[in-house]
């Protein structure tokens, strides 16, 4: 019997809610298929708690660990301990500071910023005034925002970033900040909200303001609400960039194969690739139906 521990952050905003959903979905799917796997799912609201969780999992005697680390450095020592004990480690999304995992699967944070910037730059025809709503000030956020700004500066010098404030990946915060932006700037051509939850609030603020000047809104992560808008041809929301929470489900699957030393079906290599980076995919009206999953909670 294989014991797999899954350690993820608490559902404290939409995207982590998605992570929680997909982790449980993958566990349920596997349990239906295979009686010989036992899963332990633990959630942490801080790195310190997550370290505790991994310790607890080790007491449970797990064979494989799937971890989406809160932060890289703080989790590295304890994951290293697990790895050195021979536990099969799949690190999802947040990398560790040492190579103490068997597989690393992640979204592409700088890529997300880059793809967003490139699409937005093109859509604006290389000029205009935009505002940015950031996430919680942290590493992930900086990676996205920095690469977004870098692309803008290099490729689209005609685009001016008027403002960039933290919206904490929170709908209500997004609503508040967009209201303030609309008050502060008489003309805004586009908004990059970086996160679809925040975009919900941003669109609400825009609607309430009655203004007509903003042409383009771009969120991020690919929630079904926004994909639906793209699919339906909403003039304001014409695209989205993925950062799929389903990566945790893939990570769990990789752990099942990896801990049993099985190759992935269809793979000609015995071992699972040590690094898998999920592209930040651009969703537009053309391909939106491939991404739209009405049953998902995210």
């Amino acid at each position: 019997k294989v014991k797999i521990g899954v350690s993820i952050p608490t559902a404290d905003h939409g995207w982590t809610g998605g992570i929680n959903y997909y982790a449980q979905k993958a566990i349920k799917d596997w349990q239906a298929k295979d009686k010989n796997i036992e899963f332990y799912l633990v959630t942490a609201d801080s790195p310190a708690k997550q370290v505790n969780d991994v310790e607890d999992l080790m007491v449970k005697g797990i064979n494989a660990l799937v971890i989406l680390a809160h932060d890289s450095a703080p989790l590295t020592p304890v994951v290293k301990k697990a790895y050195e004990k021979g536990i099969y480690v799949v690190s999802v999304d947040r990398g560790l500071t040492e190579e103490v995992q068997d597989v690393y699967i992640a979204g592409d944070n700088p890529g997300m910023g880059r793809v967003s910037a490139e699409w937005l730059g093109k859509a604006l025809g290389g000029k205009g005034d935009i505002v940015v709503l950031e996430g919680i000030p942290c590493v992930i956020n900086s990676e996205r925002v920095d690469s977004f700004k870098e692309v803008m500066a290099k490729k689209y010098p005609g685009i001016k970033i008027l403002d960039s404030q933290p919206a904490y990946w929170d709908t209500q915060k997004g609503l508040e900040i967009m209201t303030n932006y609309l008050q502060k700037y008489k003309k805004i051509d586009a908004v990059w909200a970086q996160d679809d939850d925040v975009l919900v609030g941003v669109l609400q603020a825009y609607k309430e303001s009655g203004r007509k000047d903003v042409k383009i809104f771009l969120g991020g992560a690919g929630s079904k609400v926004m994909i639906k808008k793209v699919l339906d041809g909403d003039p304001l929301v014409q695209a989205d960039v993925t950062y799929p929470p389903s990566m945790i489900a893939t990570g769990i699957t990789l752990a099942v194969y990896g801990s049993r030393n099985q190759p992935i079906p269809g793979f000609y290599q015995q071992k699972i690739p040590s690094k898998i980076i999920l592209a930040a995919e651009l969703i537009t009206k053309q391909n939106a139906k491939d991404y739209y999953q009405p049953d998902s909670i995210f």
């Binding site: 559902a11 404290d12 905003h13 939409g14 982590t16 809610g17 998605g18 929680n20 959903y21 950031e134 000030p137 403002d163 960039s164 404030q165 933290p166 990946w169 929170d170 709908t171 209500q172 609503l175 508040e176 900040i177 209201t179 303030n180 932006y181 008050q183 502060k184 939850d197 919900v200 609030g201 609400q204 609607k207 309430e208 609400v225 909670i297 995210f298």
Partner: protein, 334 residues
């Protein structure tokens, strides 16, 4: 000393107002467009949600308690509001006229939201009074419980309303002023009256100031404290409707996050003592507005995201010390 008493009282009363005025003047100087009517209305609307909760929190804090569960209770009640709204909307889908159908479903949603929050508040109150458990612990516990139930029901996702009229109600503006602002001021007027002009209000102060004396004065202490928690529950129920209507949806993970801190901070900035016994409803409204102005100005001035906390912390401490300085002139007071 006899001379100074009225002076002291009035400063005690107007301290938060003075802080507000100073803040408004400073903001206008730093950013002249601050004072535009639209910006002021924006601020008022932004603070109205936690502001309404702060009204109820004022009663709880004056009575000597605290309620940490308001944020997750907002999420919980809001979730049921939307579930009810959707269920009723769908079951009435053939019913007409349209306006009556919308009205009925919104009424059902509001009723359920308020009912749930009232029960939640009563539960807190019951555990505090009959269970004799410290309010901090009780509401720390129920905070976790309500959030957990909301996540469970919503599978950590979003509750989305299928009724667009609900959303329109949430963002409606009456005579130029947004609905939640009207409600905030209306409730503040009512509750201020309750606090100052009814027996219950008087008893809340007595219980918070000296429980033993209150009991000796034949006041039903447990009932008074219980009712305070029910009042904050009522406010939560109302806020839950307003915020879920505004977004026409509700996130099970995020909704109501940190409301408790914002509400408590508003109450304390508004001059109510954490130790209980006295306080003011309008003070809490002012406290909420002060917090709103701070957030607004951080955006307006474009303060670096990293340093926003620094500025916010300094302004909060500064705003309260303005009141202090004028009131006590360095004399020791509890």
């Amino acid at each position: 000393m006899a001379v100074s008493i009225p002076k002291k009282l009035s400063l005690d009363k107007y301290g938060p107002l003075i802080a507000l005025v100073v803040l408004v003047i400073a903001s206008t100087i730093l950013y002249p467009r601050f004072i535009e009517i639209q910006n002021l209305l924006n601020i008022l609307r932004q603070v109205s949600y936690t502001g309404i909760i702060a009204l109820g929190m004022t009663f709880v804090i004056i009575s000597g308690g605290i309620d940490l569960s308001v944020g997750s209770m907002t999420a919980f009640a809001g979730a049921f509001a939307i579930l009810t709204l959707n269920a009723v909307t769908q079951s009435l889908v053939t019913f007409s006229p349209f306006w009556l159908r919308s009205f009925l479903s919104i009424l059902a949603a509001a009723t359920v939201s308020v009912a749930i929050a009232l029960v939640g508040g009563a539960m807190n109150g019951f555990l505090v009074t009959k269970g004799r458990i410290a309010p901090f612990i009780v509401t720390l516990g129920t905070m976790a419980i309500f959030r957990s139930l909301t996540l469970y029901i919503g599978k950590a996702g979003e509750f989305r309303s299928v009724n667009s009229v609900y959303g329109e109600m949430g963002m409606s503006v009456i005579l130029g002023v947004p609905l939640p602002v009207w409600i905030l001021f209306l409730l503040a007027a009512v509750l201020s009256f309750v606090l100052n002009r009814t027996r219950f209000g008087r008893y809340v102060c007595a219980v918070g100031s000296n429980e033993k004396v209150a009991r000796y004065s034949a006041i039903n202490v447990d009932k008074v404290r219980l009712v305070s928690y029910v009042i904050v529950g009522l406010m939560v129920g109302i806020t839950a409707i307003l915020i879920s209507a505004r977004l026409n949806s509700l996130s099970s993970t995020n909704a109501g996050k940190d409301y408790e801190m914002d509400a408590i901070a508003a109450v304390v900035i508004g001059g109510t003592a954490m130790t209980g016994g006295k306080g003011s409803i309008w003070g809490s409204v002012i406290g909420a507005i002060i917090l709103g102005i701070i957030n607004n100005m951080l955006n307006m001035l474009g303060v670096s995201p990293y340093l926003q906390g620094l500025v916010k912390g300094l302004v909060i401490i500064g705003a309260v010390s303005i009141q202090r300085g004028w009131i006590t002139n360095g004399r020791a007071e509890k």
